[in-house]
Amino acid sequence: MKFANIILLAGIFAAVLPLILHLLGRARYTPVQWGAMMFLARKPQGTGDGYRRRQWGLLLLRGGAIALLAFALARPMLSSTANTSDAQRLAVVIVIDASPSMGHMEHAESRLDLARRTALTVLGQLRRGDQVGLITLGQPANTDVPLTTDLQDIASRLASLKVAVAPATISDGQRRAAALLAQIEEVPREVYIISDRDRIAWAEIEPRGAQTGSARTTAVKTIAIPVGSTANDNAWIESITLTDGLPVPGVPVNIEINVRNGSNVDRVQMPMTVRDADELIDQVSIDVPAMSTVTVRRRVVLARAGSHMLTATIGPAGIPRDDTASLAVDVVDPFRVLAITDSLDADEFAHLRLALMPYAVSGSQGVDIARLRVVKIDDWPSLDPRRESVVILAGVPMLLDRHVQALENFVADGGGLLITPSDRTTPQSWNASVYLDGDGLAPASIESFSDRAALAMSLTASPLAGKWIKQPMTIDVQKRAIFGDAAAESRVIDYADAAPMVLRRNFGQGRVLAMSLPATSGWSTLASSPKYLPLMQSMIRYLGSARVSERNRPTSSTLEARFSSPQDRSAWVARPDGRADRIPMTMSNDAGLAVYSNTDLPGIYNIRTAGTRGVDFVIFGAHRDSALELLSDAELQSLCKAADITLVKPDAISARIGQSRRGPELTLPLVVGVLSLLGLELLVAHRTTTLRQRRGQ
């Protein structure tokens, strides 16, 4: 038998206290010279043998109760095994949850800090010769520290532990712990799971009997130590998006940031900043009511062309990990737009010029998104996507084969093409030049041209996403092209009568839009409507960004990065969890293509090769832990009971480990024994008093 507090065993000597008090009471008597001795019985009934026996019994009961209490306070434990040396050793695996929810701040320290302290407490209870392993949930299994007797090493690893970005499950920890303990059989083995109450983490816990592997068969004891409160006070950024397509330097661009408050408390005047890399470009205070999402629209200006990484940050608001969200933005130089026409009217492109170059046309100070150049079809230029971003084929006459070939090459190489009809366009010329029974550039044939009609148009697809177009607008249409059958996915804008107004098509690396109205004035009031400018600008942004790959992708997307003349035939992927994966590159001519698809974690991925800065990608997706759905005490108890896991509070770790080392603790039965003795003492004392009264003593 061992004692957890053996020093308290000295209290057993206090058992003689009642006897001492009794003797002291006798010793401190009052002497009285007394005359009425005749009324004092020479041998009082109360001091008879029975009385004395009861009194001695009471003394024994009182002394016994005190001795038993001292014994209980010394916390005796039964040895769990006959082998003393084995009983003094333990094999312990500490499973510490480092998932994002553990970053939740509570009173100036994170839950991970609490968990770290708890783990160190567990570590502090171990002795020389004990073996301990460490599993960090949120980090992959290959980071597990196998059983070692170097407790200091484990302590150092705990000290450097940081909140991971990957979610964690307790069941994963159980399996990994079982694997670590599988080779140990001779000593008591325990798994200490230190985690918060995140419902997601505990959701997949394995019920009793379902656990497999040697950990179960060799009766490994699993102890869970929950840390942190049940507060679900967290707000996070759900998304950050660009609403206007590719921006150009100096031109304000709209971004939308969705902020979610998942707690039951309103958040008022919560600071939010937007940074371009390290440069603060916007800041604002926002109010987010409890359990709701707020969309914050901001207008920012990016001064230089190239790759940008915008990062929105709120708070701090609960879990730091989801307080930020990033958006990869490519800022391009103003689009070079080439309009090819067979018109002789010099003013035909006045509206289009105004829409694409409002500052230049008006002579105002500002940056236009595009530079428009108009050439006649007779002066057919050589087309190169690296020079012109977009070609507008304004009114399609019968094109020569070389023109068609040049346009197809241009689009296939990543250029953008807008095809619009004109008075000189016939269905035959359209279909023969750009449709070619579906093999041409146009997404649809033209069947006819309709009569005057007042029609509304509305956006039906997203490539031209812009808040201006989300609301239907009405224009007066005098004439329009009636497209033939078009696939649903090719529809961009429809009229109110469901006829397509704008269709799209991908051709090679480029994009094609076909509009049923001229891009210039004529046929309708479109060019004079207030939506003409944003519509045309959006179409130009869409068409001109075909060569720019989308760097904001949902989780599990495949990322592709092209490098010209790479020095190495492999690339490195820096993941948001800090890991770096090396991937091979596919070489084509002088260019290398790196493809990476292990994008299950939201965050920033950087693909780079030697001598380059690399390409940043943003993988967006919901943070699993953000909602912070926490288990109540009752739920956690029920869960642990079902899974045969012992739930222990942090302040009871010492006792738990002592119990493991030495066997079950006897404190509780002993306390029950003390109470029983006290009850018996009361009974005897009451009976003695009753007898005395009955005998007239």
């Binding site: 009052t30 009285v32 010279q33 005359g35 001795m37 109360g46």
Partner: protein, 294 residues
């Protein structure tokens, strides 16, 4: 009166001056006083006739009756006489209990007060002090220095030794001779039968007896707490007891003893007065006087 001042304060003396004694029974007396004498003789109040015996004074012969009936009778008269009172003080060791004033101190003052009261009313006052070693006896007298002698005796008396009250009462009865009022002041801490025997002797000799039982309140209530070592004042073995545990039994025995005493005295026609030392002395004197007046 300065001698009395050593035992009684002036205020008490003044209060005593307003009290008087009156005999419930007829007592013998050597001086003419306000009490009827049981001695039949030539006095002013005719009592009875009796047959003449040789030796009777011729002047007591009722000549008229002789003339009418030719038989010789003598007249007998009740004689007015003074009160002969003797205070009997118990000086056993048990009377030494009490603090700051002992029972014996209280008893001496009570004896002095009674003596003063009797002498002030031209009665004969005597004193008997019964100790374990010796008995002190001062015969009743109306002499002017009687009170001084009483006070001297009382001052010299020391309570000690075992109670020999029964035997001492017998000795007093032998000395009293004529019938008297005997006021016995004692704590009566001796077996009731022993005390009643002594008192019975006095009653048998036709003395009027008033038993004044003087106790300290501790002896009545037994208020001790915790452990107490009782040492007997009359030589009994010491007794260590946990006082609260024996209190009930003590009181029961005390009351039984008192009941025996009271019943015995009633049978003997003895008036009893129980006094506590906490009682003001004038009230104690009054209680004794009132009891005697019946």
């Amino acid at each position: 009166m300065h001698v009395l001042g050593r035992l009684l304060d002036p205020q008490l003396v003044e209060q005593l001056s307003r009290l008087s004694l009156s005999g419930r029974r007829v007592v013998d007396g050597a001086a003419v006083g306000q009490h009827k004498s049981p001695v039949k003789g030539a006095s002013i109040e005719f009592r009875q006739h009796r047959a003449y015996v040789p030796g009777d004074e011729p002047r007591r012969v009722d000549w008229r009756l002789l003339a009418r009936s030719d038989r010789v009778f003598v007249k007998e008269y009740d004689e007015e006489t003074n009160l002969r009172a003797t205070t009997f003080l118990d000086a056993s060791g048990s009377m030494a209990y009490g603090a700051p004033a002992r029972k014996f101190d209280y008893a001496t003052r009570l004896s002095a007060a009674l003596g003063y009261l009797m002498l002030a009313h031209s009665e004969s006052a005597g004193l008997a002090i019964a100790g374990s070693d010796s008995n002190t006896w001062l015969a009743p007298s109306t002499a002017s220095d009687q009170l001084t002698r009483m006070v001297h005796l009382l001052e010299r008396a020391v309570p000690r030794g075992a109670t020999v009250l029964g035997r001492a009462l017998g000795h007093i009865a032998d000395r009293l001779g004529r019938r008297s009022l005997v006021i016995v002041i004692s704590d009566c801490l001796l077996p009731a039968s022993e005390l009643l025997n002594g008192l019975g002797r006095l009653v048998h000799d036709r003395h009027e007896v008033v038993l004044v039982r003087l106790l300290h309140e501790d002896e009545i209530n037994f208020p001790f707490q915790s452990w107490v070592r009782f040492s007997g004042t009359e030589g009994e073995a010491a007794h260590m007891v946990e006082a609260p545990q024996v209190r009930r039994k003590y009181i029961e025995r005390f009351e039984r003893h008192e009941r025996q005493l009271h019943e015995g005295c009633s049978t003997l026609g003895i008036e009893t007065v129980r006094l506590e030392t906490s009682l003001p002395l004038i009230d104690a004197v009054t209680a004794v006087i009132r009891r005697r007046r019946g």
